[in-house]
Amino acid sequence: MQSNLPLFPEQASTVAGQVDALYLFLILLTTFFSLLIAVLIIYFAIKYRRSTGRKAEQIHGSTLLEIVWTVIPLGISMVIFVWGAALYFHIQRPPGDALEIYGVAKQWMWKFQYPEGQREINSLHVPLGRPVKVTLISEDVIHSFFVPAFRIKQDVLPNRYRMAWFTATTPGTYHLFCSQYCGTNHSEMVGEVTVMKPEDFTAWLESGKAEGSLASMGEKLFQQFGCTTCHRPDSGARGPNLEGVYGRPVRLQDNRVVIADDNYIRNHVLNPGTEVVSGFQPIMPTFRGVITEQGMQQIIAYIKSLSEQTGQPLNNRTDPTKIRDNEVPNVQQQMQQDNQNQKPSGKQP
């Protein structure tokens, strides 16, 4: 399928063509200027060679020329800047309706989880023509998620989620590389991305063994860690109700408003003492070192699912709490003072 001497990578995503356009523009520009300079110096070296016995004509310089060759490169580079920046902005902003796949990188493998609960190692299957957002985190060092055919790359950090997104356009199998040096077997931290037609993808998903959806696995963990003891929709709950929280602004105790995104949730589970939601006491214990990165992603998927199906009761309760979004979620629940003395629920299992 690959020729022996490829000169151009395959285009298999919507941004590939756009990146290539900029690349070609820059190649033309580079060729033009390199040739211009090369031709000039070779021409001068021959035309004005000393062996003809000529004397040099002294020219001091020309302010006009200096201005010309300052302004023209400046103009050209501003065009490149705007072009590149627009593209970058596009690459950095995943669309809201994307299929969300969670990935964990570790020395030296890639692990992916699908919303329906399928898991893969060093292999990623994605449907054709649908935006796919991969939320990535590392268990150890910095890795980088690089799919040349999609022209996307994102460093995968050990302490926060980074997103990469793409819309595949051509079915096929493509390289997945780790492009940030990550230790001994860095060059073997490679995988494959398989782009499938939507119907094939659905079939593939169904054939995959899954213990349940990611959200349901998250729900199990949620109960296993005892999160439900506090995070309940009733008025006696000591933690905020998590329905409808995901992706919405949350007011913190210090009056700042943050978005309850993946990073906020992960950070809050691991370091709950800070960035506490307004109206609640910081009584949540840390789950640092207890939850695996994959488990964390399941929990996030679960919390997210609570927002997607608002109106569905949480934890089988029949009385869902109404969510006032755009404002602080769950400010109505006041904390009782005696909480301090109570042993916090949701301790490590």
């Binding site: 151009f8 200096e66 690089f146 460093d155 950090l157 302490n159």
Partner: protein, 547 residues
């Protein structure tokens, strides 16, 4: 060759800095900037060939997709040691500490640098640094990559990272002291009449380099000290387990290491600005623009570092700021290239070896610089970051630019340093071989990079093989191009033609003294009455030194 024939008298002076004193002590305890330059020349040549051997082994290994020679572990050590040795122990000191050390006091008409003892000390510190680096290599090598990214380097590798880091810190202090010396010398030691507007461009560019050395290098030192603390004592400022941010390490590392790129290229630009007017018999075109572009590069070079981190997890807005600023640094580089080209216009050009290197420099630096635009273009950088495209880009700047300039400078000032000429025909051949070998080695890597071969891969996908083989073939040609000068330059020390004081009929003050110069450089303090590069004026053949 015609220039040489016209030189009237070609005799070695009776006494010069090389025969003023004999014995190992007279070298190891010398305070003469010229002898220190020679000490540096010898030591960085050794480093260059060691690091070059690593490079050759890397290229040989990459002949086959599964790796021809080593385990991945050994391969990782190879590229790390190649990178560390080349960057910190060869490129950074190359032109400043060898050529700059030799010619800058001569160019400004001074007896020596401002602080001769500190100059000698900087060489010893450099040697201590090299010793640490060598110790790290001999005791099993280091596999962090020359960038030492945390948390990999601080917590996950089992090699002698700290020893290597200490070596690099020493090398850093050595370059701080060189920079300090240059700055004070240029400010305080200029000969009477040598105003800023008359300074040779080599001095301007080394001054700009020194600014970067003193302002950026200490940040590298503190960053690596913090890395050492994290690795040695688990005092982890970048450790994600304690809540540290590994991206901050990258910020601090690149705050030095990006300007360091200009430490490496600016002195090379200075060399080129000397060679081109001399072999074109012409004043430099737009002197003040070339001079100020050096300062502009030095200053702008400080505000662009995060373009190494566009996919590392920095904010989108700061990425835009850094991308925009990165283009600002491209402009002065372009101005320089255009001015060099314009200098050749209507000149009287002779294609001697230094000029061949200079022309090679202009061509390769242009390509290297323009491919930098690819990497600063945000959306495109996402694809080509950390691939062979980056490798090709910076080798075009570092090898195609800096090493070419360094070799050009060595050939240009060789008669001044040794009093002898090298065999011109062989030298021209070597320059040609270097140019061809270089292009063959690194041009395929642009294609490889865009195809998506990540850097630092011991094993790669089979479809990349043809281009890798091409690159390896080029590397063997390039190696010949580098070994040749080492051989014939050494040969010329004894058998080379006597050069005479000014074989190129150049105008700089360094050519107005004997070759080799006396220990105190000038028998009488020179007085400068003209601008630099007054080629073609009536007084050209006259000596510029007025008693």
């Amino acid at each position: 060759m015609s220039t040489v024939a016209q030189t009237p008298e070609r005799v070695m002076p009776d006494r010069h800095y090389l025969n003023d004193n004999y014995g190992i002590r007279s070298w190891l305890l010398t305070k003469d900037h010229k002898r220190i330059a020679i000490l540096y020349l010898i030591s960085i040549s050794v480093v260059f060939f060691i690091a070059g051997i690593f490079a050759s082994l890397i290229r040989l290994h990459l002949l086959t997709p599964n790796g021809a020679l080593f385990t991945p572990d050994t391969y990782n050590k190879m590229f790390t040691m190649h990178g560390v040795m080349m960057v910190f122990f060869f490129l950074v000191p190359s032109v400043p500490a060898v050529l700059g050390n030799f010619v800058i006091p001569l160019m400004v008409g001074a007896k020596d640098l401002a602080f001769p003892k500190i100059n000698l000390m900087s060489w010893y510190i450099y040697i201590v640094g090299v010793t640490f680096a060598m110790a790290a290599i001999v005791s099993g090598g280091v596999d962090t990559g020359w960038t030492f990214y945390t948390p990999l380097s601080s917590g996950f590798l089992h090699t002698n990272v700290i020893v290597m880091v200490v070596g690099v810190i020493f090398a850093g202090f050595s370059s701080i002291f060189t920079g300090l010396n240059f700055i004070v010398t240029v400010h305080r030691m200029r000969a009477p009449g040598l105003t800023w507007g008359r300074l040779p461009l080599m001095v301007w560019s080394n001054y700009a380099t020194s600014l970067i050395m003193i302002l950026a290098t200490p940040v590298l030192a503190i960053t690596l000290i913090l890395l050492g603390l994290e690795r040695g004592f688990h005092i982890g400022i970048f450790d994600p387990k304690l809540g540290g941010d590994p991206v901050l390490f990258q910020h601090m590392f690149w705050f030095y290491s990006h300007p360091a790129v200009y430490i490496m290229i600016l002195p090379g630009m200075g060399v080129i600005s000397e060679i081109i007017p001399c072999f074109s018999r012409k004043r430099i075109f737009g002197y003040s623009f070339v001079a100020f572009s050096s300062i502009a590069i030095a200053v702008f070079g400080f505000v662009v570092w995060a373009h190494h981190m566009f996919v590392a997890g920095i904010s989108v807005y700061s990425a835009m700021v850094f991308s925009l600023l990165s283009y600002a640094v491209a402009i002065p580089s372009a101005v320089k290239v255009f001015n060099w080209t314009a200098t050749m216009y209507k000149g009287s050009i002779s294609m001697d070896t230094p000029m061949l290197y200079a022309m090679g420099f202009i061509g390769l630096f242009t390509i290297g610089g323009l491919t930098g635009l690819f990497l600063a273009a945000l959306g495109l950088d996402v694809h080509i970051h950390d691939t062979y495209f980056v490798i090709a880009h910076f080798h075009f700047i570092m090898v195609g630019g800096m090493v070419m300039a360094y070799l050009g400078g060595i050939h240009f000032w060789w008669p001044k340093m040794t009093g002898r000429l090298y065999p011109e025909a062989v030298a021209k051949l070597a320059a040609l071989i270097t140019f061809i070998g270089f292009n063959l080695t690194f041009f395929p890597q642009f294609v490889l990079g865009y195809l998506g071969q990540p850097r630092r891969y011991a094993i790669y996908a089979p479809e990349f093989q043809v281009l890798n083989v091409l690159s390896t073939a080029g590397a063997s040609v390039l190696a010949v191009g580098f070994i040749l000068p080492a051989l014939y330059l050494t040969w010329s020390l004894k058998y080379g033609e006597v050069a005479g004081d000014n074989p190129w009929r150049a105008t700089g003050l360094e050519w107005q003294t004997t070759s080799p110069p006396p220990t105190h450089n000038f028998h009488e303090t020179p007085v400068v009455t003209t601008e630099a590069y007054h080629y073609g004026s009536e007084s050209e053949e006259e000596v510029r030194v007025v008693p």
